[in-house]
Each structure stands twice: as structure tokens, then as C-alpha cells.
């Protein structure tokens, strides 16, 4: 029988070890897997590469990942904190302790989707002529220069959604989905924290992430996910 439910954050993160590449969903707080991020912080893994649209919310919920210098690499479209002052991750990027690859957001998610879809590389007009494309391979299509972008994959993807079933099918609320579908497809182990695990199968139409992309589901009460 297929049953992807696991009991608790520790089981959800089992096997996430030093050196892992970890994708973390979230745009603003929507879809951010807060319990899993806290669990990542509480765990011992270091030498992590974090692949997330922004590092800001990860530092908010698990500052020890940065104070203990356990994040050594990152791929993001934003490496900036909000408000005044400098976040720890920003300082570590300035210092060179954290190697952060900055990627235009559309290329970021398309590279992850490509990683999940078995497409090793693609061309896009985004970024051409900017410093993010400096030294990169360019090629014209229909007279328009494009840059070659390669797929991104990870060992783990950590997501938050509204509800799931034992087959790993996931449905989102609001704008939780954002990067979650692409990330789920591009990781070896995809873990989803949800507020509710449905006893019945979710309706086949309207599933946001099919269970084939999901390895583990963990139920987290709404109050522990904020």
C-alpha cells in the first residue's frame, strides 16, 4: 500500500545530512515550510546548499543555520533582508563565507522545473546584457540573443501546503504553490508539511502536486506552522 505519511519533523527530514542540497519553497510566508525549516535548523547537518527564492525567511525561522555557518552555498533571486541593517546571511555573502548564485526569478523556477522534467538545459532571453549573463554562453534564436541556463536539482525539497492524502497528492490554498510544484519535481526526496491529511484521496482534478513527485507528507498543526 502506498502511504507517504510520516510522523513528525524528524522522520520527515531523515537522511538529510551534511552536504545536502535543499530546496525550500515560499514566496513571502506563503508556502514556506516553517516547521521543516525549524527542523532543519534544529538538526545537525552542515555544508548545506539552500535553493530558495530568498534566504530572508529561512534566517528568520532558523537563524542557527547561519550563525553556525551551516549554509555554505545558495541559489536565490533575492539575497537581501528587509528593513535596516544587515542580516547574517547577507554579511556571510559579503564575507565570501556563503557562495550565493543570484538568478532571475523566472530563470530560477524554470531551471528547477527543467531539473524535474529531465531537460538538462534551455535558452532564455532573460538576463542577456546584464552582469548575471557575463561570461555565459549566448546564442541567437530568431535574431534575439539568449543565454543558456542549466537545470537545478536537489537532494531534498521542503514545502508547505494545505492538505494531502496518503498517496502524496497535495493541494494548496491561496498562493502557497509558488515554487512548490517545480521543486517537488526536482528533488530526490520531497517533503511536504500540510495542515491536514485527508483520510480519503483528494479529488483527482485540482491536485497541485501529484503524489508521484512527493515522498513524505507530515501533518503540522496550523499553529506550529507560523
Amino acid at each position: 500500500m502506498i502511504d507517504k505519511r510520516v510522523s513528525g519533523v524528524a522522520a520527515a527530514l531523515a537522511g538529510l545530512e551534511t552536504g545536502a542540497r535543499v530546496m525550500v519553497n515560499g514566496f513571502g510566508g506563503a508556502g514556506l515550510p516553517i516547521a521543516l525549516v525549524k527542523g532543519l535548523g534544529a538538526g545537525g547537518a552542515g555544508g548545506l546548499t539552500i535553493i530558495a527564492n530568498t534566504l530572508r525567511m529561512i534566517e528568520s525561522h532558523a537563524p542557527e543555520l547561519f550563525t553556525e555557518r551551516r549554509v555554505t552555498g545558495a541559489i536565490a533571486s533575492a539575497a537581501r533582508s528587509r528593513g535596516e541593517g544587515t542580516a547574517i546571511f547577507e554579511q556571510q555573502i559579503f564575507d565570501g563565507a556563503l557562495a550565493c548564485e543570484l538568478v532571475p526569478q523566472g530563470s530560477f523556477v524554470e531551471r528547477i522545473r527543467a531539473g524535474g522534467a529531465g531537460i538538462p538545459a534551455f535558452y532564455t532571453p532573460t538576463g542577456v546584457g546584464t552582469e548575471l549573463a557575463e561570461g555565459r554562453e549566448l546564442r541567437e534564436f530568431d535574431g534575439r540573443p539568449c543565454v543558456l541556463e542549466t537545470a537545478i536539482r536537489a537532494d531534498f525539497a521542503l514545502l508547505r501546503a494545505d492538505r494531502a492524502d496518503r498517496w502524496g497528492n497535495v493541494a494548496c490554498a491561496g498562493s502557497q504553490l509558488n515554487f512548490a510544484h517545480a521543486m517537488a519535481s526536482a528533488a530526490t526526496v520531497t517533503v511536504v508539511e500540510v495542515h491536514e491529511i485527508s483520510a480519503e484521496a483528494l479529488p483527482p482534478h485540482g491536485i497541485d502536486i501529484p503524489g508521484i513527485f512527493v515522498q513524505r507528507i507530515v501533518e503540522i498543526p496550523r499553529e506550529d506552522s507560523a
Binding site: 510566508g29 533575492a78 547577507e90 532571475p104 532571453p125 509558488n178 507560523a226
Partner: protein
């Protein structure tokens, strides 16, 4: 000379150019003010690159859903006819030319339409590129809202950008606190100016050649 426009007045002016039925993405800063000033009687679908087509007004504090945000992380509502999608699809809409208009903030726009809007080069804040590069190459029409000059008085309409570029030859129109300026094959073309400003005065705060339309209109938003 009339006072320079307020940020809300620039947003109001940019909103006048949005057609009924247009799909429009609003960047951070001044652009997000545009939705407050959409012309009455036009149904404009606001696209947000985190996965919403049809963003509605910002949510009332009590009724806000923390899992429904726009790309500026504001807690929002949905407009009638909205659709929720994932980021890959939201950017497919952008890159694929499905978004009619993107309104972006800017630091500099060049006479060739190059845009610089993504990096403050702060010594204490990290870098942030977000979706601006995708929007600038993908939207059918790219329009920039910005003050005509920096706080220090330096021109933002320039012959060549010296700040990090967002995209080459991307911008179609610029709304500033002094004028509405199109980017044409032969450079900047002034369409509207605030009352009392003349060509010489506008040229004095612009670091690139300016052409003037035959029928330069007066840029006169309501008080906002």
C-alpha cells in the same frame, strides 16, 4: 512651474494607459500604487509573478490570509475571474509574452530603452534581482515609473546606464514626476510635461537628447 508629481500622481498617470481587459504586472514601489488608480469602467487583470492572475485589493487586516500574498508579499485578495497558478507558469506568462504591460520602478533608463532597476549596490544590503529581468524582456510593453532625477539631482534618463542593467532595449515609456517620455528608435520623445515646464528646463534635468512630440500635452493629474 507646477509642482513635481507625487508618487501617487505618477501612478495615476500610468494607470490611464491601461486598456480594458489588459493583463498587467506591477513591480515593487511606485507601480503597486497603480492598481488603486485604475480607470473606472475598465477591467484590468493584475498579474503577480508568485502565481496569481487577477490580484484584488489588499486584504482588510482582520480578513487577511497569510497564505495569499502578491509578489510584494502584501496580503491581498483575489479579483473576480482570478486564477491561481505556480511560479513556473506565472513566468511562462511573462516570458511568453502573455502579459500586456509591466510597470516597473527604475533607477535609470537609457535612450536605447536599456533599464537599470535592480541593484542598490548597498554596502550593508545584499542583492535582489527578483523577476524584473524576466518582466523586462517578456512583457509586451515595458513602462517605467520613476522620479525624473535622483535625490541628489542627477538625471535618470541617460544616454547610457552606468548602474547594473536589468535588460537591454526594453523600455517603451517612462512616467516621471515631470513628464511622460516614450523611448523610440531615435531616442527619447517627450509626450507630456507638467504645466510651466519648458523644453529647456526638462533638458536640464535629462542626460540624453530629448525630442518633443508636435502635440506635447500638459501632464496634469488630480491632486492625490
Amino acid at each position: 512651474m507646477t509642482d513635481r508629481l507625487s508618487r501617487r500622481q505618477i501612478a495615476w498617470r500610468a494607470a490611464r494607459d491601461l486598456a480594458d481587459g489588459a493583463y498587467v504586472n506591477l513591480g515593487l514601489g511606485m507601480p503597486v500604487l497603480v492598481s488603486d488608480h485604475a480607470p473606472v469602467g475598465r477591467e484590468i487583470m493584475f498579474h503577480s509573478e508568485n502565481g496569481i492572475v487577477g490580484v484584488g485589493p489588499v486584504a482588510d487586516a482582520g480578513a487577511a490570509d497569510p497564505d495569499l500574498t502578491d509578489a510584494g508579499s502584501r496580503l491581498v485578495t483575489l479579483a473576480p475571474g482570478a486564477a491561481l497558478v505556480d511560479s513556473a507558469e506565472a513566468f511562462a506568462m511573462i516570458r511568453g509574452g502573455h502579459v500586456d504591460v509591466t510597470l516597473l520602478g527604475g533607477f535609470q533608463v537609457s535612450a536605447a530603452g536599456d533599464l537599470a532597476n535592480w541593484d542598490s549596490r548597498s554596502r550593508v544590503k545584499g542583492r535582489l534581482v527578483g523577476g524584473a529581468m524576466d518582466l523586462a524582456v517578456g512583457a509586451k510593453s515595458v513602462r517605467v515609473l520613476m522620479a525624473h532625477t535622483t535625490r541628489e539631482g542627477d538625471a535618470r534618463l541617460v544616454e547610457r546606464c552606468d548602474l547594473p542593467l536589468t535588460a537591454l532595449s526594453a523600455v517603451d515609456r517612462v512616467y516621471t514626476d515631470l513628464a511622460v517620455v516614450d523611448v523610440t528608435a531615435s531616442g527619447f520623445l517627450v509626450r507630456e510635461m507638467i504645466a510651466g515646464l519648458d523644453a529647456a528646463a526638462l533638458r536640464a534635468v535629462t542626460a540624453a537628447p530629448l525630442e518633443f512630440a508636435d502635440d506635447v500635452a500638459i501632464l496634469a493629474p488630480p491632486v492625490l
